[in-house]
């Protein structure tokens, strides 16, 4: 708890506006937080001194131009960057106040912090097996349990009605939007606490995008969501909080309405107004 408090203090520096950031931090306890996070690929510094909180049951959007580090930050939250050779992380990533980089078992961290990718990436197996993959990985074997998990997850991803009669069909036969919602169901099947979405609608058509945005609005009642998006209107529509990144640093972070309507930094104002990016 002491560690938690110190992080809360540090993250009040977030966006360099202590008062505003602190007020929202107080409202909802931080599910995840990063403090003084830095990341280097070899000589390239991809993230510098990033401080952010991700309050429980809120949607946080990470926005910024390509290459600004927002996806890299997302991939620190479930340590997917561990898979990248030559990548070094400094500072801390906290999940419920515990340092994610000191987790004994990174697989346990990834179970608790699920991820949906930019390109839908269902496995080349049946719809059922896709959703059951995670639970099976974590030891669920009984058929009845798996059946229940698959149905619950597909319902939570709002795709049960479309797929319930074709669970045995190969997932690669679905449309892109369906595949992405299947991937969300697959991520939800291991009962994560946090859901990371890495531009998860950028490869989809507008109707599929709308469905997933609607889904995210429902998911925030139970999950903490962190989403990277290129689409500022999307951030405005679905997120509670927004962090604006530029060249590996957080320029501004706070409640979405404030960031979009009263940006404190000129660069944020230019970006959300569409003047660059």
């Amino acid at each position: 708890m002491a560690e938690m408090a110190s992080v809360a203090e540090r993250v009040t520096e977030e966006g360099k506006a202590p008062a505003m950031a602190a007020s929202t931090v107080d409202l909802a306890p931080a599910k995840m937080a990063v403090a003084h996070l830095g990341l280097r690929y070899g000589d390239f510094s991809a993230l510098r001194d990033v401080n952010l909180v991700f309050p429980e049951r809120q949607v946080t959007a990470l926005i910024g131009p390509s290459g600004c580090g927002k996806s890299t930050l997302l991939r620190c939250l479930n340590r997917m960057n561990d898979l990248v050779a030559g990548c070094r992380v400094t500072g801390s990533v906290l999940l419920d106040g515990q340092d994610a980089y000191r987790f004994v078992d990174v697989n346990d961290l990834r179970r608790r912090v699920g991820m949906v990718f930019q390109q839908p990436n269902p496995f080349p197996m049946s719809i059922y097996d896709n959703v059951a993959f995670g639970p099976r990985t974590h030891g669920v074997k009984r058929r009845a349990d798996l059946d229940e998990i698959v149905e619950r997850s597909l319902r939570d991803a709002a795709i049960w009605d479309e797929l319930k009669d074709r669970l045995r069909k190969n997932a690669l036969g679905l449309s892109g939007g369906q595949q992405q919602r299947l991937c969300i169901a697959r991520a939800l099947a291991v009962r994560p606490e946090v859901l990371l979405m890495d531009e998860s609608t950028s490869a989809l058509d507008p109707i599929s995008t709308a469905k997933i945005e609607e889904l995210v609005r429902q998911l925030r009642e139970r999950y903490t969501v962190v989403m990277v998006t290129h689409n500022m209107l999307q951030a405005l529509r679905v997120s509670d909080r927004t962090a604006f990144f530029l060249m590996g640093e957080v320029v501004e972070a706070g409640p979405t309405d404030d960031v979009f309507t009263h940006p404190r930094d000129g660069r944020t104002a230019d970006y959300v107004a569409g003047r660059f990016g």
Partner: protein, 281 residues
Amino acid sequence: MRRLSRVLRWLVYAGAALTAAVLLAITGFVLINGIPHLTPSLFEWTYTSDNVSLMPALVGTLLMAALALLMAVPVGVGAAIYLVEYAPRGSRFVRAVRMTSETLQGIPSIIYGLFGMLLFVTALGWGLSLLAGACTLAVMVLPVVVRTTEEALMAVPDGYREGGFALGAGRLRVVARCALPSAAPGILGGVVLALGRCVGEVAALLFTAGTVAQVPDLLGAGPAGLFDSCRTLAVHLYVLASEGLHIDEAYATAVVLLAVVMVLNGVAALATRMMEVRDRG
């Protein structure tokens, strides 16, 4: 410019036609000369100097190839899995192994024969035997299996692996459930390539398995039968042709060899198609 493109187009057509013609000519020639001499007596269990039965060689071919692949495929696939899935990408070690296996693929098979003779036949004292021949073939096709499996694994989209890792799966599970199933058709293709080289090999076997035309006595003598000398169809064909006394039977053997290769390829193609159907659902 237009004339140049027309000339080039005809050159390409001519190349394609020539290739097809050569293939048809060889196959046709073998079939026409061989089929009339395919008599039931050629399929008798024992070989005598009066009746040069190809049955021992047919059994020898299947045993030799099966044994060689039994050794080369697990080792080769395992090595490729290590190189692609476990070793740090682009590390010096991986590059060294890759270059080595590419070089090994280009070495003439007679060198493998010499190596097999010195190691298995002489140093280990196995004599000219089924086992020495199969081990030599295994060493020879190992780089083929490694390279094709590597290519197949590298062609698996990284999204499958990331999807697995993001669900909290360990590397073993990600490899076994996310990467290998998609790579299976490609790996099978490599196995077929290796099989083809085993079935067609002569030089390496003359030095290591010998040319005795008998079915290895695995049923009677058990594992000791592994140390019997035996010949494959390709070796049989070579011996008959070089003796010059049984040219007709040599052609008949060539027909059987062709048939064996086609059947094995057909089975592999069928297996691949079934896997692809399973994957597409």
